[in-house]
Structure formats: C-alpha cells, structure tokens
Chain length 227, copies 4
DNA sequence: CATGAATGAGCATTCATTCAT
DNA sequence: CATGAATGAATGCTCATTCAT
C-alpha cells in the first residue's frame, strides 16, 4: 500500500528500478558533496528521474538518506562478516575484519564516503551515541570488532587501552588510507594493505615475554590465547 | 581599492577587530553546523556585526572559509613546531608532533573540527590533491611529520611503508580520538594520550637488531600458518 | 470521442458508478477542506478509484467542481420545490421554501457547505453575476423564492424592499444558522427553525390591517404576541 | 530586536511602509481568492516587494494572515463602538451596531471579505468556538451585540430565541447584502440600509401591545424599555 | 476502461549578496 | 566604514495532469 518502505526488499537491488537509480545517484552525490550540498534536483538529474518521483519512494530528503544509510551499512556489515569465523585467533579475526573494511572501501568508494559523511553529520553522531545501528537480521549486538577487542583484552593479547582508543588505532588509519585512496593520493595494493594492517596489529597487541621470543615477528601467529 | 586580502595581515589576531570577531564566530559555527548549515546571517549575529560588514572583509562565503582555513591551518602548524627540536631522536620528534596534534585538538576543539570539516569537503579534497596549503611564512617544505618519517626511514627506525600509510597510522588514530573526545564519547587524559601515542609509534617503528632480533620482517603479515 | 459530458445523464445518480463515487467523495472533501485543500489524489483515495480515472469523467479539477455544483444545485432546487404548491398563500409558499432550505442544509450538510464554498469562490461570484445557473430542466425562470417575493409585493403582503434585500433577510439568517448547526455551535430543532422562520417572515412582511388580525396564519409559529 | 511583532504599533498604519503595502495586498488578494488561492508570490507582486521581504515582517504565511485578521478585526470592532452609547435604548444600540457593520462593509469591502474568508476557514471556526478574538484593549468581553441581545431579552424587548438565532437574524442579512453590494449586485444607499435594518429589528423584536400601536415605524426610536 | 507511476510547474520558505543610508 | 532592509535565485516538497500498461 505504501511504497515508502523501511524494509529492505529484494527489489531494491533491481538495478533498473527508479528506486535503485535514485539510491545510487544519492550515494554518489552525497559522498562527494555532503547532505546539504546535494539538492534534490541534482539527485533527480543524476538519477535521470523527475524531482517529484523521488518522493514516491521516500518521504523526504532526511528519510531518503537515513534509509540509504541503513541499507548501505547493512551490506557493509555483511561484507565484513562474510566467511568470518568466531573460532579463529584474535589476531586472525582482527585481520579479517580490518581487511574487510579496506576491501569494502576500495571496492565501494561512494558507499564508503557516504557512510563517512553520515557518521560525521549530526545525525551520525547521535547514532553512534545511541548505538542505534540497523540490525540487519543479526542480534543487534556490538560491532564484531569490539567483541574481538574485548576478548583480546581478556586474553591479554590486546593492550589494556580504552575501547575507543583501540578502535581509533585500527579504524582511524584504515579510513584515512581508504579516503586517500579514493582521492587518488595513493594506490592501495594488497602489499600496502597487508603491511598497514600488520602495523595496526602491532599498535594494539599486548607484548608479552612469549611474544618477545626470538623469531617472533609481529605478523606471525602467536598462540598466546590457548596456552 | 579592495579591502579583501589573501595575505594574512597582522591585524587578524587583534582580538577586538571586527575581522577577528567574524573569524571566531565562523569557526565556532561551522565547526558545529557545517558550511551549508551556517548562514551568513548567523555568523553576523554571533559575531555581533551587520551581515553586510562581513563582505567588507571577505569577498564571499567561500573566500571567508578558505581564508580562515589557511589562517587556522597556519596557527596549527606553528603550534606543532613550538619548542620543536630537529636534533632530537626520530621517536621524540614524532612524539612531540603527535602530542601537539592531540593537545591542539583538545584545547581548540572548534578549530580542530573546522579543519576536519574543511578537509572532508570537496574544497579540502582538491586542496590536498594540489598541495595548495598555505606557507605560513615557512619555506613551503613538507609537513614536519613527513620529514621525520623520511628521516626515520633513512635511519631504518621507521618501517618502509608508503608515506601516506605512515601518516594514516598516526594521524588517523589521533584525529579519530580527538573527534570522539570533542563529541564527549571519551575523556582524553594524559595517560590515554601517552599510551595511544606509544601504540602509534609501535605501529610504525622498524624493528631492527637494536630493537629486536634479525629476521624480523615487519611487512610480512603472512602468518596464517599454524605450526 | 469525449466522455466528458456537461449534460446531466441519468447514470449520475447510480450510487455504485465510479462517477457517482467521485462526486460524493469530492463533495465530502471539498465541503470540509475547500477547493485548494483537496488534492485530486485525496478524492481518488476517498472514492476508491485511481487518480487517472477521475479524468475519464471530468476534464479537469475545475470542471469537476463546476459540474458537481450544477448537479447539487439542481437537486437542491428540486428539493425545495417538492410538494410546493404555487396556489398557497404568499406566506405559506415562503415558509415552504425557507423550511426546505433549512431541512436540506441539516440533512445534507456536505452538499450545503459545498454550495456555500462555491458561492464564496471567485467562480461563484461570477456565476451569480452572470445568472449562469443550471436550468435543471425547468424553464430557466427565477428562483421560486424571487417569484414569491414579487407576488407578495404585488399583493402588498411583502415590503417594498429591493429584491436583494428580501433575499438577504431570509437566506442570510438561514444560511448563517445552518452553518452554525453544521459547525456544532447550535442544535437546530424544529422549534428553533419555526420561530426563526416566523421572525424572517416578520422581517419582510408588509404590515397591513389585514395582516394584523389575530390567528391569520395557517402554520402559525407566531404565538409570540401575548394578548 | 524582532521585527515580527504581534503588537499593533503605530507604524503599522504608515501607508508607505513595506509592511503596510504587504498587508494591504494580502487583504485585497485573500478577500478575493482565499488563503490557499493566494500564493506569496502574488502578494509580493501586488505589494511591489520581493517575496523574501514578506518574511522580514511575518514569520510565515499563517502568521501573516492571522496577524492581519487580528488587526483588521480590532479596527472593525473599534469602528462599531465609535460613538456607541451603552445608555441608549436597546433598539438604538442595535441599530448603531448594525449600521456600523453595514458602513464598515461598504467602506472597507476588502477588509470585510477578508474577515468573512477568515471566519469561514478552519482557522475561523476554531476561533469562534474558542472565543479567541483579539482584545483590542477592551476587556475581552463578548461582542457588544450579544450584550444588547441579552439585555433586550431581559427587558422582554427582544424575542426569546437562542442567541445564535438572533445573531443569524441580524448578521446574516447584513453580511449577505454587503457581499452582494461588493459583488456589484446591488447599490446600497442609506435608504436601503435603513429599511433593511428596520426589517431586522422587526425580526427580533418582541411584539407587545405598546409596539403594536399605529404609527410606530421601525425607524423611529421606541421607548419600550423604560415604561 | 482503469490504473497509478511519473512528471514538472508551482508553492512556501531560506539565504547569499547588494546597496542606500 | 558599518549597517541591515531588500532582493530573487534556489531549495524541499506538493499536486494536477498525462500516459504506458
């Protein structure tokens, strides 16, 4: 009855549908110009639809952006969790998730910057504070990265820093680099990604005697968790 | 004939001048509401001047923001270089600069967010790409942090990563944390700052014989082998 | 070729026809929200038809309303003339017609307010000026009330006031009261209606010796004199 | 500080001020086309000002109309009360007030229709129900006409009809006639006005033996109240 | 015939910029 | 120099109307 839908239906990804055209145009433009820098008329033109058409699919501009964020954020989370194994070592789980962010950013630059824009908007700030995130069908628990950090700290594999600091030490560099990559300031190949991730791990790992044993390289799997 | 000046005159820091009132109001408001969320009329009111007055000092809104960015960015750089000693060790110079960013962000949240806003705008992106930055009277050389990294790599104290990656590994976490701090999501005390900076250093430092045993290859994260 | 019809076909009162559904919805909505406050889409929804369907029956929104007005106005006139006997006394004919307006308004509040809305619109004003009204199959003669007034004046039963004044003195109070009734500001029972009509009659009647005789009026709601 | 003012300042009637130009244009246009039929752009053009200028004086379109209504309604009430003497007979007070309405309508056709439009809008309906009217500096008591009716009923000079009916019997014809006059359907001279008012009085007056004496003409002051 | 998705002109409102004072 | 009233282009949004299905 109502075409405005918060549910993410399968038709949303029909690449030819007007709705999807609007979404893609919005992501592209807002990722570049920001919410207030992107008039509806510009979205309509980029999508190749009439301005009024947008309002058949979304109640207003706010809703348009919020709904796209939810959808994009969901896909983003699902991408991270693809082939994710909670039984792997802390380090491997860390690397899996972080590499996922890298890959996602490089392969979906518009979506990545869109998420960034959203997080840095007043909207996003309150989102973060209220832990509002979309559930995507999962149990609404914390981002898996936070779980990894918590588990790692429990096992004394990860430094006893505030959670925010741990996140900053990993997400910070990744986001920074991906944005530089999107801006064309650096070419992100697998080698650079891998070495950067290794560096991130070194930043947060708890150095123990075991870790300091000769031959122990920062990037070698340690077995500190199951002694 | 034209009172608009790209040059940074000495009067700009006169705290009572209208120009400075306008600048301070703009920083405060744009850091909070963003460029498009801050009308000229709001700036005029916050600054306690007439709207038309702003146009005596700045050609238009774009120029206003660009000029403020240049000025703020200069002060920021100068702050970092305060008591900076190029003869210190790589690590100390690194810590001096990074701690400076932290301090600046915590003590000047409006300016910090303003710079952030600017960097994330289309304007900022092109700026970064064109290395346009203001010279601030210095010799136009690279940011000192980049010099430290280059020197550190020459001395094999710092990993052989792309410069952009090294910057990301240090600036990324700092900016991330300062923003969280400004948003009230974390309380940044000296302990947290110090341990975070130590972590950043661990992320970028080259482990040598001096530091470690030979054969240690920081850039090989390939370790998934489980013996 | 053109399904739009200015003629009032017999199907218009078929209660199940789409045309009639549209008309009823329009009357209900416009009487409440006015012409500009009632979008076509709302009419379509209320009528349970597609928006495009309305344009099969009416050329455009203006035509829709004009045609409905003609139809409603016709039915209104016919209602007034029901059981109307031109051989009755002036006073009885007057009371018959006026009571008819009261009854019609109370029983058909939507239609009544619709007519009102229309009369007060620029459209209605020009209509009144041009004496354009629909003929309803009658001989296009004046409204019967005007005939009664003319006849009454000829018989010196009704004051020698301008016709417009006589109409105002009768229609004015009735419309005013019915609107208050519809708005819920007064409960219109038969007693109030009768005494109001008696008052209207007193306003326009020519006082002669004949008229002043006691008990002279058949439907005498006029018992107010206390002998 | 704030140019939006609910207070009715003396400058409002400065005929050359933009504010007054806007008000006059609004009254003229809304009286003819109604609220929804009068775009802001049309008001701006009619007033000879830019569209944005209107918003310097009024918060939004609703406020514009509401404020004008208050002002016009105040002037209207003051006009009615000009030279009004509460010590006159019921009939004279009645005639004074009703004649005032006539005069006001004939001399201020735009304002008169504007008030009409407003009363017939959803806004006006709630106004009537809530007795919200502006106080105009008076004590906020009922319209004087209602007081006259109440007093007249107490003295058995006026019929014992519901208040709404009495108002309908007087205001109804007057409004009806004035509208016809404005529409050009009738020429309202003093004779017509006087005889119509006399008729209105006959409609509502309580007929006693005294009143029935020959020679008692509607327009002559009767002394029925203080026998 | 009937539909409702699509359209774009039109609306209320905001805001960067100008200019008379 | 400084002001802020005035402007009109631009924005988000609505809605009468069309037309492919």
């Amino acid at each position: 009855m109502n075409v405005h839908s918060t549910e993410i239906s399968s038709t949303q990804t029909d690449p030819g549908s007007k709705r999807e055209l609007i979404i893609q145009a919005t992501i592209r433009l807002i990722s570049e110009y920001g919410f207030h820098g992107t008039p509806i008329s510009m979205i309509a033109q980029e999508a190749g639809v009439g301005a009024g058409t947008i309002y058949r699919y979304f109640k207003d501009k706010d809703t348009l952006v919020l709904e796209i964020f939810k959808q994009v954020h969901c896909v983003f989370k699902k991408t991270l969790l693809h082939e994710y194994d909670a039984n792997q070592t802390i380090r491997d789980r860390f690397l899996h998730l972080c590499r996922g962010i890298f890959q996602y950013g490089v392969q979906n630059p518009y979506e990545f910057k869109f998420i960034e824009q959203f997080y840095n908007s007043p909207y996003g700030t309150s989102l973060r504070r209220e832990k509002f995130f979309c559930n995507c069908g999962d149990t609404g628990q914390d981002l898996p990265l936070e779980q990894v950090f918590a588990a790692g700290q429990a096992q004394q594999v990860i430094k006893d820093l505030p959670l925010a600091a741990l996140i900053a030490l990993t997400i910070g560099p990744i986001v920074f680099l991906v944005k530089d990559s999107i801006a064309g300031l650096i070419q992100l190949d697998q080698t650079t990604i891998n070495s950067t991730l290794a560096a991130c791990w070194e930043a947060i790992q708890q150095e123990t005697d075991t870790n300091r044993q000769p031959g122990s390289t920062p990037s070698s799997p340690s077995t500190e968790e199951k002694p």
